[in-house]
Subunit: 238 residues, 2 copies
C-alpha cells in the first residue's frame, strides 16, 4: 500500500505545452527523458496539465531536444493528470466504505483517513482498513481504472503532510475549487467529520497553505461532501 | 407535491444586475413589483443570476422605478438562483433514496423520476414514491433548507418536458457543465440508469436542446453520477 502514482508506476509521464501530432521538447525535458533511460521507440504518457493526456512515442532524443509522436488516448487516460488524494475524517459505520467506493470511481489515487477533533472515531481496526482497501479494489475494477487507490491508515490532521495543493471544503468559504485547481502538481481534497472541522483546524490548515472552498450554502452530510467535491473535479473532464 | 419554486413560494424574487447597498431598478422591474402588490417596506429576495442572492427591502416604488436596500444574506440563500431539477432514471433498491437524500442536500427543487430504455424498472409503487418524498423532507430539514424538493412520479424520458437548460451526463462528452451553466433560467440535470442511456436516447435529448457534459473518463455507478454532477454545481457556490 505505498502511494500508487496515478498513470501507472512507470513514472514515464511527460508534461507538454499542448497535445499535438508532433511535440518537440527542449534540453531540460530531453535530459529528464535520458535520466529515465528512455530511447527512441519508448512509449510515454504526455499530459498538458489541463486534463488532456495521451500516449506518445519517443521518436528522437538527444541532449538538446526530444521529439514525441502522439499516440492514442490510453487506458491511463482514466487517471487524473497528477495524483488526486482525498483526505477524509473518520466516519461511523459503513459510511467510509461508501465514500471510498465513490472516490475510487471519481479518480482518487489514494484516500487518507484522518483523525480530527470532531471525528466519529480516533482509530480504525486493521480488519476494517483491509476491507476499505478491498472496496477500493472492487470499485477500481468496476470503473475500469488501471490504478487501485490506497486507503491509508489514519493520521491526525495536524500531522498530515499532503503533497501539492490542498482544498478543504468549508461552509462559508467563497473560493471556488474550479477557479483554483492547478494540475501542475498533485492535488488533495479534504472534507471533515459530521459537525465539521473546527475553526482552529481550518485556520491551521490555511496557515499551512490550504485553500478553503465552497460547496454551496447548504449543510452537507459528511459522506456527501467528498463525493460532491470530487464530482466538481470530474465535471472538469479529468 | 406541486413544483416548489426555489426561494420559497412567495415569488418575490427580483433579478438585479449586481448586489449593492442601494439598487435602482427601471420601469419594467418596477411594474413587476407593482403586479406583485408590493409596497415600500416589503422584503424581497434579490439575485444576480450568477449565484449571489440576499434579502432586500423595497424603499421606493412608482411606475418609473424601484429602489431596493440590501439586507442580510437570508435563509433563502440556501436555494439556487433558479429552480434546479434532477432527472434520474429509476434505480433498484434503496439507491433512489440515497440519490434523493444527497440531491436534497445539494439544492435541487425537484427530482423527476424517469423511465428510460435500460432503467431498472418501468414504474414505482405509490408507497415508495411517498417514502422518497419523506426522505426529501427529512434531508431538507437536516440541510437547513427552507424548501422541500418534490419527488415526482416517473414519466418516460421521451415525454419529459424540462424547463430551461438540460445537461445530461454522458461518457465521452467533452463539454463542461461549469462552462455552460447559466442561471438566467431554470436548470435541469439528467443522469441515466446502470448501463447508461442509449445513444438514441442521448441523440433525441440533444435534438431537443440538451447538452451532453462530461463527468470525467471513468465509469460511474448510476447512484454516484447524480451526486457528482450536483456537486459540480454546488462547488460553484450556488
Amino acid at each position: 500500500m505505498t502511494g500508487g502514482r496515478a498513470g501507472g508506476g512507470s513514472g514515464r509521464r511527460v508534461r507538454v505545452e499542448a497535445l499535438a501530432p508532433v511535440m518537440v521538447l527542449g534540453p531540460r525535458e530531453a535530459r529528464h527523458l535520458q535520466v529515465l533511460r528512455l530511447a527512441p521507440g519508448a512509449t510515454v504518457l504526455v499530459f498538458d496539465g489541463q486534463g488532456a493526456q495521451a500516449q506518445a512515442t519517443l521518436a528522437e532524443l538527444d541532449a538538446g531536444r526530444a521529439v514525441l509522436h502522439l499516440g492514442e488516448a490510453s487506458e491511463a487516460a482514466a487517471e487524473t493528470p497528477q495524483p488526486l488524494t482525498l483526505g477524509v475524517a473518520l466516519l461511523k459505520g459503513d459510511k467510509l466504505a461508501d465514500v471510498v467506493r465513490a472516490a475510487t470511481e471519481l479518480g482518487v489515487a489514494r484516500v487518507q483517513l484522518l483523525v480530527t477533533r470532531r471525528a466519529d472515531a480516533r482509530e480504525i481496526g486493521a480488519q476494517k482498513l483491509l476491507r476499505l482497501n478491498r472496496v477500493a479494489e472492487e470499485a477500481s475494477k468496476q470503473s475500469r481504472r488501471a490504478v487501485t487507490p490506497d486507503v491509508l491508515a489514519p493520521v491526525s490532521l495536524s500531522e498530515w503532510h499532503w503533497e501539492g495543493q490542498l482544498f478543504v471544503a468549508q461552509p462559508g468559504a467563497e473560493a471556488r475549487l474550479t477557479d483554483r485547481l492547478d494540475w501542475s502538481g498533485p492535488v488533495a481534497l479534504l472534507t471533515g467529520p459530521e459537525g465539521g472541522l473546527t475553526d482552529d483546524e481550518v485556520l491551521s490548515l490555511r496557515q499551512r497553505g490550504a485553500v478553503a472552498v465552497t460547496l454551496g450554502p447548504r449543510i452537507l452530510r459528511a459522506e456527501t461532501a467528498p463525493v460532491a467535491l470530487l464530482g466538481a473535479v470530474a465535471a472538469l473532464g479529468v
